[in-house]
């Protein structure tokens, strides 16, 4: 009973928090391939064709700033063991470790020189870009502060610069500016925090502007990233947050369910107690009294 009294209010509060979050999701990987390439998307993405695509997003409810922009990838196994292993933390941390690339195979060396940052995780960096405009005015996307502060301060060094990156025959994703140190390459830092599930979102940036209902946002995106080889999906997500986080009704529903179940159990045990009471410590329930003449 106590559990249900505690859980049901928590469930209600969590559900309301989740309901307050406004989310716009736009799946674009198929739509952003021109019609004549729809049968062979892989060759389209690998070609030099124009990859610019415009999308329109309609705001359903008031969205207060900051509005978080995520890219969501489906069917992308960032949690595969070989992928997760393929990085070199000592290389990322400090310039002195620039040639410690042994754990990064196959993306360790290119043209006989070590790659900085090495490994499959860095090599596959997401490279779609998004530009937002509202009523023909550019909406600025703040790309600072999207990664964990501890990553920026301690894990990715201020004196480590990309070199020899995406220099091989196969280009896996975004190239990095070799004049910017890794501690400021926030897209890379966010990407290198490998996700737990094959469907995941990563923070792209924040929009510091309120969005009113029924406004239409025009997105100009560069559809560069190849998810077509493995039938992955790409989605652009705009979301607000509440004190609890993003939009997920499950926590609230789970609390309500467990609280309700506890309430039901408490009720049924109370009924049983009233119908068939057992005095505590009643010795007639001892086994030698219940089965007289033998156990």
């Amino acid at each position: 009973m106590l559990v249900s009294i505690v859980f049901i209010p928590i469930g209600v509060v969590s559900l309301f928090a989740s309901r307050d979050v406004v989310e716009i999701i736009d799946q674009y990987e198929t739509e952003c391939v021109p019609q004549n390439f729809r049968n062979d998307k892989v060759s389209f993405i690998q070609s030099n064709a124009n990859k610019t695509c415009t999308r329109r997003l309609t705001v359903t409810k008031l969205m207060k700033k900051p509005i978080y922009v995520y890219y969501q990838l489906d069917n992308f196994y960032q949690n595969h063991r070989r992928y997760v292993k393929s990085r070199s933390d000592s290389q990322l941390k400090d310039n002195s470790g620039w040639d410690e690339v042994s754990s990064c195979k196959p993306e360790d060396m290119s043209n006989g020189q070590p790659i900085v940052p090495c490994g499959l995780i860095a090599w596959s960096l997401f490279n779609d870009t998004y530009n937002f405009s509202l009523n023909n005015q550019q909406l600025a996307v703040n790309k600072k502060g999207i990664s964990w502060k501890s990553d920026r301060d301690r894990k990715f060094g201020r004196n480590v610069f990309p070199r020899n990156f995406q220099n091989g025959t196969l280009i896996g994703g975004k190239s990095l500016d070799p004049t910017v140190p890794l501690s400021k390459q926030e897209d890379l830092i966010v990407w290198m925090r490998t996700a737990a599930l094959p469907t995941f979102r990563k923070l792209y940036g924040k929009i510091e502007w309120d969005l009113q209902p029924n406004e239409v946002i025009h997105v100009t995106l560069e559809n560069n990233y190849n998810t077509y080889s493995f039938s992955g999906k790409k989605k652009l997500v705009l979301s607000t947050t509440s004190w609890l986080g993003g939009k997920n009704d499950f926590l609230g529903i789970a609390y309500l369910t467990v609280g309700g179940l506890c309430f039901f159990l408490a009720l049924s045990f109370t009924v049983v107690y009233l119908v068939k009471p057992r005095r505590l410590g009643d010795p007639s329930y001892l086994s030698w009294n219940r089965n007289p003449g033998g156990h």
Partner: protein, 325 residues
């Protein structure tokens, strides 16, 4: 004869130490045999049975979450937990079981001596039959499912904090492990009947040590802690979702056991439950007559010989008569 028996007890004395060297247990005087059997024998049986069942439960609940995760990683063998967590699993969830196995007493030693019939729970194998073993394994299976899937669905792909950050594998693994530690330790607290400071220290100390370990591990340089650097302090502790998930999962995992034990204690109590209640409500002090009567009823006379066979036949006929009524 001592060697042939299931348990051989030898008495050391004037005839020498030969019996002692051949035996499993040895005592100094014949009168100690009563205590050895009725008190320590009974406790030993209960402790070992409960410890083994709980061990199965604990390892199934922990290990199966690793297996479920493989379905989400393309069966590549990636562990959802950091390597150091699994090392600490040995310490943090095993110390409470050790204290259960060494110190557990379902009834006190005086009661064991007064009610030798309680000892019958051992030979009748009430606490280690297949029903109980499979029940604990099923409990472990259910706990692993609850822990894993609640965590996965709650931390699905949206942000888990007001700052908009999404959970990476380390955050999810740490939360899941926290839920495991809490659920397992609350479960053992529910199982134990006898609490001394040692049990409290191992159970609640394990939980506190887990948080301390996370804080210390997170404070080590990223060379050692990798992605778990500052995971508790920076990422998880300020997130209300972490604490609410832990609370939800810990309580939900223990609900089936609580329902089962509540049902059992209400409707089908076992002997030691009744005696625990009598002792707790001091009914043995109030109603001395009842207490003494039950003690004498709880004793069975000799089991061998002509008299015993006659008495056994009488008991059989009596029980048949009772059933007919």
């Amino acid at each position: 004869m001592i060697q042939e028996a299931d348990i051989g007890v030898g008495i050391s004395g004037v005839e020498g130490m030969q019996a002692v060297m051949a035996s499993d247990f040895s005592v100094a005087q014949f009168r100690f045999l009563e205590r050895l059997l009725v008190v320590h024998g009974h406790w030993c049986y209960k402790r070992i049975a409960q410890m083994i069942c709980y061990f199965f439960y604990k390892n199934i609940a922990f290990g199966l979450t690793l297996f479920y995760f493989e379905a989400f990683t393309g069966f590549s063998g990636q562990s959802v937990y950091d390597d150091w967590y699994m090392l600490f699993n040995v310490v943090l969830t095993s110390l409470p079981v050790i204290s259960l196995g060494v110190l557990e007493q379902d009834v006190s030693s005086e009661v064991c001596l007064e009610f030798p019939a309680i000892y019958q729970q051992g030979p009748r194998n009430l606490f280690f039959d297949w029903y109980r073993i499979l029940g604990w394994m099923g409990n472990g299976l259910l706990a692993s499912l609850i822990i894993f899937f609640l965590n996965i669905v709650i931390f699905y792909n949206q942000a888990f904090r007001i700052g908009g950050q999404t959970a990476d594998m380390t955050a999810l693994g740490t939360t899941m492990f926290t839920c495991i530690i809490w659920s397992l330790n609350i479960q053992i607290a529910l199982t134990m009947s006898h609490f001394t400071w040692i049990q409290h220290a191992t159970i609640w100390g394990s939980i506190v040590t887990w948080y301390l370990f996370l804080a210390v591990y997170g404070a080590l340089s990223p060379d050692i802690s990798g992605n778990a650097y500052q995971i508790l302090v920076e990422a998880l502790a300020p997130a209300p979702m972490y604490w609410t998930t832990t609370l939800l999962v810990a309580i939900t995992c223990n609900l089936p056991y609580m329902a089962h034990i509540a049902y059992q204690r209400c409707l089908e109590p076992m002997d030691h439950h009744i005696i625990q209640e009598i002792k707790y409500y001091r009914k043995d002090v109030e109603d001395q007559h009842m207490w003494n009567r039950e003690q004498s009823k709880g004793r069975q006379k000799t089991k061998i010989g002509f008299t015993a066979r006659v008495e056994a036949k009488i008991r059989l006929l009596q029980s048949k008569m009772h059933k007919k009524q």
